[in-house]
């Protein structure tokens, strides 16, 4: 399932780094971090959506502590 989230990410370089790190998380089919629109489009299998998203978020936080998913 594809979902769009509003996010907060401070710099363009960080956005690229986060995107790369998150896309390596198991269960994440694809992820796009858009610095300009401050949006994240993430594709995760339905069955484990919430759990995978949590793991991916943790990974992103490690790469860039300022990263935030707003809604």
């Amino acid at each position: 399932m594809k979902k769009v989230y509003k996010i907060e990410v401070d710099c363009a370089v960080c956005a690229n780094k986060i995107q790369e790190a998150m896309s390596k998380v198991e269960g994440v089919n694809s992820v796009t971090i858009n610095f300009m629109t401050q949006k994240m489009i993430i594709d995760i299998d339905d069955a484990s959506f919430d759990e995978t998203l949590k793991r991916a978020y943790k990974v992103a936080k490690k790469v860039e502590s300022d990263f935030q998913i707003i809604e």
């Binding site: 401070d10 363009a12 370089v13 610095f35 300009m36 629109t37 949006k39 490690k62």
Partner: protein, 625 residues
């Protein structure tokens, strides 16, 4: 300005207020002159500068610390810290503080500029309706979220409100401001029975609309989705800088280490080499390009959207600029697609010919018939029996009179004696009973702005090819009038795709082909071309789906504008990439030889980034007319 930014600004100002006097005093009399003992005289400057340093950089220190724990050694913050701590170690206290201070100032302005432009572009594109007024069966109005409205519901739109969903007017008439959709500022008059599109603003009076599409299928949502996703389709330049950023920082950091090791081995003055290597760390962030390139594309796509040009991704903007061959559909693209009576021959029988043609054609809605109807002013006895002869024309009968109106095949069939007319355009012959009366010449008109566009393309050495289903004569006339490079005539719709295939086979390896069509019958061609451009795309899902660039308005001047935007964007992007790389490399080389000091290095970092961002913002600027 956000709260976060405001806090940063206050911190910067406080630091500056304390730092500048201290720096001046240090420069003039030297802070170390207060203590006579040379062993501890450095303590006063060290401590005072350290305090300011900690105040201005505590957030960076924390971030760097966190990132190091997570194994991010090439983190920008960490490298800044190393560079400044290094400066402290070699007793360049004011320099260390200044580097951090300027870094923070640069970052602040950069964030401010980016944030501001992002917001203003987002606002421009924000044509999302907030609510819909649902008219319930009992006549009451309920204000609801547009997403909750179902097909067939009636909604009411008051003057000044935005139409939330696509539909058909069931009562009332008004005029609409379609600027957000087409970029066209002239209001459009609508009345009962007209289809209206979401995103338009109702101007004059209240209208009730029967909803024909759900919110997610409505025009406004389609446009928003398209523009928001546009920056996800990355251009080659964007992919290049992502790669560049990945390797640039590690390479610079490793060279800095090598510089110290090798320099030390050669002449032993380690502090000299450390000072030079610190410059490397200061310019080790590729921020300038990493931020300015996507910003340029984003700003351009936003600006284009405002002008009624939807670009589906940075890649298409880039390719559009590169395309050296433009293939055009004729009818509806280069020409208006509305046919007009050009002449009636012979002149002295004009009224009679037109009247008889009108009798035959008045029930038809064919474009040819419409042009005849538009030309004829009088009212006519319409009590004729009309017979259609498919592919040939129309026969009208009443009492003893029979009128024939059609092409030469019709006249041949009925054995008339007539002169065969060979002119560009559609010839409609008119005969009555046994006599040939004359003919009407009907022509499509070339769009006024087509001349400007094609002459611009010719100046840029861009090949222009026209494909049309019309006959040779017609095609040639348009080609000569517009000075197109070449044309293909008498093509059936499916032949257009094979014609495009042919162009693809003959093209050079890296050449890109753009196809411009009205999106009605040419979806396969739009999809096949490198850049498919459809015109007048409002409300046509198939066209929006199949093309890479959608011109919401069907005039060619927006195509010209799009081309100019693409050109400017790519130029700015290239300027930024080259400027940033050249300045940084130059500073690296000068630093290695000890010519550039840390002040120049800090310019190479934040100064360049700021200049690039400002340059990128030019993409979004709309010239005042």
């Amino acid at each position: 300005m956000s709260k976060k930014l405001k806090k940063r600004l206050i911190r910067i100002i406080i630091s500056l207020v304390v730092f500048i006097p201290l720096f001046v005093v240090d420069l003039l009399i030297g802070l170390d002159s207060f203590i006579d003992d040379p062993k501890i005289s450095w303590l006063i400057p060290f401590l005072s500068f350290l305090l300011i340093y900690l105040f201005i950089s505590y957030d960076i220190l924390i971030k760097a610390f966190k990132n190091i724990i997570h194994g991010q050694i090439f983190d920008e913050n960490f490298l800044m810290i190393i560079a400044t701590i290094g400066a402290f170690c070699i007793q360049e206290f004011p320099e260390a503080v200044a580097v951090m201070l300027l870094y923070q100032i640069g970052e602040f302005f950069q964030d401010l500029a980016v944030g501001k432009s992002r917001k203003s572009i987002a606002e421009l594109m924000d044509i999302r309706p907030d609510f819909a007024s649902l008219v319930k069966d009992n006549g009451e109005i309920e204000v609801v979220d547009p997403e909750l409205i179902e097909i067939g519901n009636i909604i009411r739109v008051k003057p000044g409100e935005r139409i939330p969903l696509d539909g058909v007017i069931v009562s009332g008439d008004s005029s609409l401001d379609m600027k957000a959709l087409t970029g066209e500022s002239l209001p459009v008059d609508v009345e009962k029975g007209n289809e209206v599109l979401s995103g338009a603003i109702n101007l004059t009076s209240t209208i009730d609309i029967k909803v024909s599409k759900t919110f997610s299928d409505s025009t406004v949502n389609k446009i928003l989705e398209l523009v928001e996703n546009a920056s996800n389709v990355k251009s080659k330049q964007e992919n290049f800088i992502t790669k560049f950023a990945k390797y640039y920082t590690p390479i610079v950091v490793i060279s800095a280490i090598l510089l110290v090791v090798i320099g030390w081995a050669i002449n032993g003055h380690i502090e000299v080499w450390v000072a030079r290597a610190l410059n490397f760390l200061v310019v080790s962030c590729p921020c300038a390009i990493v931020i300015s390139v996507p910003l340029s594309f984003f700003a351009s796509i936003g600006k284009a959207a405002k002008l009624g040009i939807l670009i589906k991704g940075s890649l298409y903007l880039e390719n559009f600029n590169k395309a050296k061959t433009f293939v055009f559909d004729k009818t509806g693209t280069l020409t208006k697609g509305n046919f007009v009576v050009k002449s009636i021959v012979p002149e002295d029988k004009k009224e009679e010919i037109l009247k008889n043609a009108y009798i035959c054609e008045n029930q038809s809605s064919h474009p040819i018939a419409l042009s005849i109807k538009a030309m004829y002013q009088g009212k006519e006895d319409l009590d004729y029996k009309i017979t259609n002869v498919p592919g040939k024309g129309v026969i009208a009968k009443k009492d003893k009179d029979t009128i024939y109106c059609g092409n030469h095949k019709l006249l041949d069939e009925y054995g008339f004696n007539y002169p065969l007319i060979d002119e560009a355009g559609t010839v409609v012959y008119v005969c009555k009973n046994k006599d040939y009366l004359g003919y009407i010449l009907i022509k499509d008109e070339i769009k006024e702005d087509a001349y400007e566009l094609i002459s611009y393309f010719n100046k840029q050495n861009i090949k222009t090819i026209m494909l049309t289903g019309d006959n040779e004569k017609c095609a040639k006339e348009v080609q000569e009038a517009l000075k197109l490079s070449s044309y293909k005539s008498s093509l059936l719709p499916q032949e257009k795709v094979s014609e495009i295939e042919q162009i693809f086979i003959n093209k050079e390896k890296n050449e890109l082909i753009a196809y411009v069509g009205d999106g009605i019958n040419d979806a396969p061609t739009l999809a096949r071309a490198d850049i498919g451009i459809s015109m007048g795309g409002v409300g046509s899902d198939a066209a929006i789906e199949a093309s890479d660039i959608v011109l919401m308005h069907d005039n060619l001047s927006s195509l010209l504008k799009a081309k100019q935007i693409a050109k400017k964007t790519i130029r700015i992007v290239k300027e930024n990439i080259w400027f940033a790389i050249l300045v940084k490399v130059a500073i690296l080389i000068l630093s290695a030889f000890g010519i550039a000091n840390i002040w120049i290095a800090i310019f190479g970092d934040v100064g360049v980034a700021l200049l690039c961002v400002l340059n990128a913002l030019r993409c979004g600027r709309v010239k005042k007319e």
